[in-house]
């Protein structure tokens, strides 16, 4: 938290993540990572009250938990979502996940599997996890806490999550809504679905963003600034959702 109480970059990122779920209504929000989790819980506490949240494990929680809450922290349980039920639900489409992305490219292909050739990777990462299925079944967004040319690449080494240039004809839906990074918010609302800047975070310039990106971002006229949290949102982030400031470990001020 800044000494003067003004929003930190992490707090702006949390707002940008929260905005990803705006308008989603009664679907499950699956945020991966601290800042996306703050965002989803903030959205549910403010402008998106019907969002369905989980404890990050198998329980649906009626009231947003603080991030990092211990497993035995009290919670109001409204439902049960073990992995088998989560798979049913994601195939049903009532879900918007915000995953991490070790690499993301200009058409929104995402890689969390490996760096280098898959047959013998330079760096083995997690594996594709649920990214292939998520991206052809429901809305997906990505969170990249360290925006750099190594993360925003011309072509990903391995397509885990499917981008706009590879959408199969039989996808149930395909929407990569936003990529939120520590520098800005990006979307694919362009004629060819290539990535553009939706907004830069306060204190960041469009030039800085382009320099940190490994491909030309599609022009977008005058680039907007990401909105800053309201006083009430700041209070919710600081006092209710993330009282131990876990967000600062994910995004440096």
């Amino acid at each position: 938290m800044s000494a003067n109480g003004s929003p930190t970059r992490a707090e702006v990122c949390a707002i940008a993540c929260a905005e990803a779920w705006r308008g989603d209504g009664e679907i499950v929000a699956s945020p991966i990572g601290t800042v996306p989790t703050i965002g989803a819980r903030l959205a549910a506490l403010t402008f998106e009250p019907d969002l369905v949240l989980t404890d990050g494990d198998a329980l649906m929680t009626a009231e947003p938990l603080p991030v990092g809450a211990p497993a035995d922290a009290p919670r109001v349980v409204e439902g049960w979502l073990p992995f088998g039920k989560m798979f049913d639900l994601l195939w049903w489409g009532r879900r918007h996940v915000m995953m991490g992305a070790t690499q993301v490219d200009r058409f929104g292909n995402q890689n969390i599997a490996c760096i280098g050739p898959w047959q013998k990777p330079k760096a083995m990462l997690l594996g594709v996890r649920g990214a292939p299925g998520n991206t052809v079944n429901h809305t997906t967004s990505y969170w990249v806490p360290n925006h750099s040319p190594r993360a925003f690449v011309e072509n990903v080494d391995f397509v885990s999550g499917v981008g706009y240039d590879r959408v199969p004809a039989s996808a149930a839906v395909h929407e990569i809504r936003v990529v939120v990074s520590n520098l800005g918010v990006f979307d694919f609302d362009t004629p060819d679905h290539s990535m553009r800047v939706r907004s830069v975070h306060p204190g960041v310039t469009a030039d800085e963003v382009q320099e940190a990106t490994g491909f030309p971002l599609t022009a977008n006229g005058d680039v907007a600034e990401t909105r800053v949290p309201t006083d009430e949102e700041l209070r919710l982030i600081r006092d209710v959702i993330d009282p131990s400031s876990m967000r600062d470990a994910e995004v440096k001020s």
């Binding site: 198998a58 047959q119 959408v167």
Partner: protein, 266 residues
């Protein structure tokens, strides 16, 4: 009524080189680690391991037991990347079949249903289709004529799972929030062995959980090992949490050093 009680050593004596072994649990949660330890002590090799992978996969790779891993991910949860699995993949010492988590479930379900594949959307458009040349697609015979992935069945020779409670007949109970896919692993396998925290009388099974917690019925299991703490260092909610300290030690210590110590723990 058959008494299916057995030991880790007797379970591992049933395994053969080259077998396909499915391991239940998820990541670093409710893994049958005492049976995995017994495999590490054995001379077994060239195993194909099918798993929502965690330290089970990592240890078997580190000990040179693995020919191939079939996975959607391998992770220690609180430590995202599994060091020994990574090393094995990066050195090219193991074969791999990497699929979406849901495709893995579909493969187990197809095997459990005794059909050769199940259709799904997951995988289409991703590199999964390119690095698994054996994966084929199928076109819907109905009016939509959609092209879908024909996820092949993943039949197992043996499934290994860990439950919270079981009885001597082979009924198994989970008491935590998620049973993962342990039932499918058992039904996809020729033989299934279940370790558990405690064997209880059949009449006592409902003392700790509702009917819905009886995930494994005795038709699904061939041997029961009573193994208190048998999932350690992975978690076994609600009996115990993950031993984060031991997991951290495992993840940061060379296997040559950690392995012998691990084999002595029981």
């Amino acid at each position: 009524m058959a008494d299916k009680r057995t030991t880790e050593a007797e379970v591992v004596a049933e395994l053969r080189d080259g077998m396909t072994i499915g391991i239940g649990g998820w990541g670093s949660r409710r893994k049958p680690m005492s049976i995995v330890r017994e495999i590490l002590r054995s001379q077994l090799r060239d195993l194909t391991v099918v798993s929502y992978g965690g330290p089970d996969v990592g240890m078997l790779c580190a000990a040179g037991k693995v020919k191939k891993v079939v996975y959607g991910f391998v992770s220690l949860d609180s430590i995202p990347l599994e060091p020994h699995f990574r090393a094995a993949r990066q050195s090219g010492s193991i074969e791999a079949m990497e699929v979406d988590e849901g495709m893995l479930q579909w493969g187990l379900r197809a095997a459990a249903m005794r059909i050769s594949f199940l259709p799904c959307r997951a995988g289409l458009g991703s590199s999964v289709m390119e690095v698994n040349p054996s994966l084929k697609t199928v076109r819907s015979p109905y009016d939509d004529s959609e092209e879908l992935v024909a996820m092949p069945a993943l039949p197992l020779d043996v499934a290994l799972i860990h439950a919270n409670r079981a009885d001597a007949r082979g009924n198994g109970q989970y008491l935590g929030p998620d049973w993962f896919f342990d039932d499918l692993f058992c039904m996809a396998a020729e033989k299934a062995f279940m370790s558990c925290e405690r064997i209880v009388d059949t009449a006592d099974l409902l003392k700790e959980g509702s009917e819905q917690t009886l995930m494994i019925n005795r038709m699904m299991s061939d041997g029961i090992v009573e193994a208190p703490g048998g999932a350690r260092f992975t978690s076994c909610a609600p009996d115990y949490a993950r031993d984060e300290e031991l997991q951290r030690e495992y993840a940061t210590t060379p296997w040559e050093e950690f392995g012998p110590r691990w084999l002595e723990m029981s």
